[in-house]
């Protein structure tokens, strides 16, 4: 485990990622999806080439090996986020599926006519639309928690919004626009005080900071493997065992039953009852390997590295005229996510011009359109860093960004 990570270290670390040797693009869209180390993909191949069988279904040794590999991935994931046991870890396709599972199952368990659900206005569509749909199905109402102009949310505001009808509070642990990490434990405590369930969206937080669901005290946590150096087919839903035990099943089918007769059905134990159909053992095994890799690198070192890069990038951006950074002015609030506008330039033009320089950044609303509506901005650009980005890349990003207005015809 590393204690810190220098530019030189990172140059070594990048050799673990075949992507970087094949491309000289500056990839700064890590909040959308990360690149993957070779050993993660090797673990995937090893599974498919040497252990491949349908887990749970066979008595023969291969099927047991497949089952073991899959369950080992669950154990390591449980440990990684501080779950009490692997019964609390459900494998899904991605964070979106995890949150939809909750929208359907928790929605139908808890929400009744006139009840209320609170989400923050900064939620990714995947942690907003499932709740809107659930509220609509159950006749409940949706309330928005609003941030201040710098992207900070306050527990006091949440308390004001909570009523005796509030059943669920769903909120991101880290915004994919502001980059700010929120104090989930404090927001969860406010929800719990009012008897509401707290759902944390960890899609951005889990890859960028140490996660301990016990400390966060969230009832549920969703995240995606593909933002965590893993393939695109695996996500996680963590749930406190007491809640998972109460939760109605979502998808039904193979694997998630105990027995089925023509008239009756009894569901399997946790966590299997939430995993219908053939499981994605290959990608789960790869996620397990990614977690091992991350632990070897050291999460504190990763986080420190991302903080350093963020500072360099943000200071550079502040020196370029006509750049407006969204969210907090303090780089330490950004965790590698820098959302901005170049004044007078449409974000799609900014992204296009910079793409021509080999810089991969985003333009649009980053699946947080209501937040943009609230901030009264049509769209924005976003650069998102990962520990494996280099200072050189930040330099290239900054120098390209510095030319955008000129190339669009502005005198300066």
């Amino acid at each position: 485990m590393r204690l810190n990570m220098t530019e030189q270290d990172v140059k070594e670390i990048r050799k673990d990622f075949p992507f970087f040797s094949g491309s000289d693009a500056v990839y700064l869209d890590n909040s959308a999806t990360t690149q993957r180390p070779k050993r993660v993909m090797d673990a995937l191949l090893d599974f498919y080439y040497h252990k491949n069988a349908n887990p749970f279904r066979g008595l023969y040794p291969l099927s047991w090996e497949a089952t073991e590999a899959y369950e080992e991935a669950r154990r390591i994931t449980a440990e990684f986020i501080g779950a009490a046991s692997s019964r609390e870890v459900i494998f899904t396709r991605n964070a979106s599926e995890s949150l939809n599972l909750l929208g359907f199952s928790l929605g139908s368990l808890l929400l009744h006519e006139g009840d209320e659900v609170i989400v923050s206005v900064a939620e990714h569509h995947s942690n907003m639309l499932p709740w809107r749909a659930a509220a609509e199905r159950q006749g409940a109402a949706l309330r928005y928690l609003l941030p201040d102009e710098e992207g900070h949310f306050s527990v006091e505001e949440l308390k004001k919004l909570i009523t005796e009808k509030t059943r669920i509070v769903a909120m991101t642990a880290m915004s994919n626009v502001f980059g700010e990490l929120y104090d989930t434990a404090a927001f969860a405590a406010a929800a719990h005080e009012a008897g509401a369930v707290f759902v944390a969206d960890g899609a951005q937080s889990v890859p960028h900071t140490k996660t301990d669901v016990k400390k966060m005290d969230c009832d549920f946590l969703a995240f995606s493997g593909h933002k965590l150096l893993s393939p695109m087919g695996i996500g996680v839903l963590y749930g406190k065992e007491e809640w998972l035990e109460k939760l109605p099943v979502f998808m039904t089918g193979g694997e998630m039953i105990e027995y089925v007769t023509m008239d009756e059905v009894s569901y399997a134990e946790l966590p299997h009852r939430f995993e219908a159909g053939t499981v994605n053992a290959g990608d789960a095994v790869a996620l397990g390997e990614a977690i091992r890799y991350i632990r070897e690198l050291g999460q504190d070192a990763m986080e420190g590295r991302e903080r350093d890069l963020t500072r360099i990038a943000m200071e550079g951006m502040k020196r370029i005229p006509h750049i407006r950074i969204i969210g907090s002015p303090d780089p330490d609030d950004h965790h590698g996510i820098l959302t901005f506008r170049v004044e007078g330039v449409h974000p799609h033009d900014t992204a296009e011009i910079m793409a021509g320089d080999g810089i991969c950044i985003r333009a649009g609303h980053h699946c947080a359109q209501p937040l943009h509506e609230y901030l009264k901005i049509n769209s924005t650009n976003r650069a998102s860093l990962m520990f494996y980005n280099t200072e050189e890349e930040i330099e290239r990003f900054l120098s390209s960004l510095g030319t955008v207005r000129r190339r669009l015809g502005y005198a300066e």
Binding site: V345, H348, D349, E352, A355, N378, S379, L408, G409
Partner: protein
């Protein structure tokens, strides 16, 4: 991608200093064009008299490409008969979809500077937004002063954009 050359002087000039944006005219027809995925829209106004586009203007927000393209388009079609404008629209669309002859290119005047947009599939919708709105306005209610209430989008018109909103 040839961005460095793509955002050329013609384009930036029409974007920063559009001739026909927010111009006051007496429109006989108005139509909105919207690209929901980026949230951009324009509102196109035409004054059509005796089958000729006497004047035109546009309002709205959008990227440099959509704004410049709309401005170049108006520059080109103002003063032309409706059927000629529609033929120019066809030529513009053809330029982007499959390419055109030198001769056809010349007919498009400054609008021909957008020909390389075909290499930027995600931006085709920007370049054609004005033109598709023009087509709609001219075929829906060429002589009509009423806003039909309809609007146009170029995000699913199969202009060769791969992916999501074809």
């Amino acid at each position: 991608m040839q961005n460095r050359t793509f955002y050329n002087e013609i384009l930036t000039e029409h974007n920063l200093h559009p001739e026909h944006k927010n111009k006051m005219i007496r429109p006989t027809a108005v139509m909105r064009g919207v690209n929901p995925s980026c949230g951009d829209d324009i509102s196109l106004e035409l004054e059509v008299k005796d089958g000729v586009i006497a004047d035109g203007a546009f309002k709205g927000d959008g990227c440099a490409i959509s704004q410049a393209s709309a401005d170049m388009m108006l520059e080109l079609v103002i003063g032309r008969p409706v059927d000629e404008a529609l033929r120019l629209k066809d030529t513009f669309m053809k330029m982007i979809r499959e390419g055109v002859s030198e001769e056809e290119l010349e007919m498009l005047e400054e609008a021909s500077s957008l020909q390389d947009i075909s290499h930027m599939p995600s931006r085709v919708k920007c370049a054609v937004l004005g033109w598709r709105t023009l087509e709609e306005i001219l075929t829906a209610s060429p002589e009509n002063g009423e806003d039909s209430g309809k609007s146009v989008t170029t995000e699913n018109d199969g202009t060769g954009i791969p992916g999501k909103r074809k």
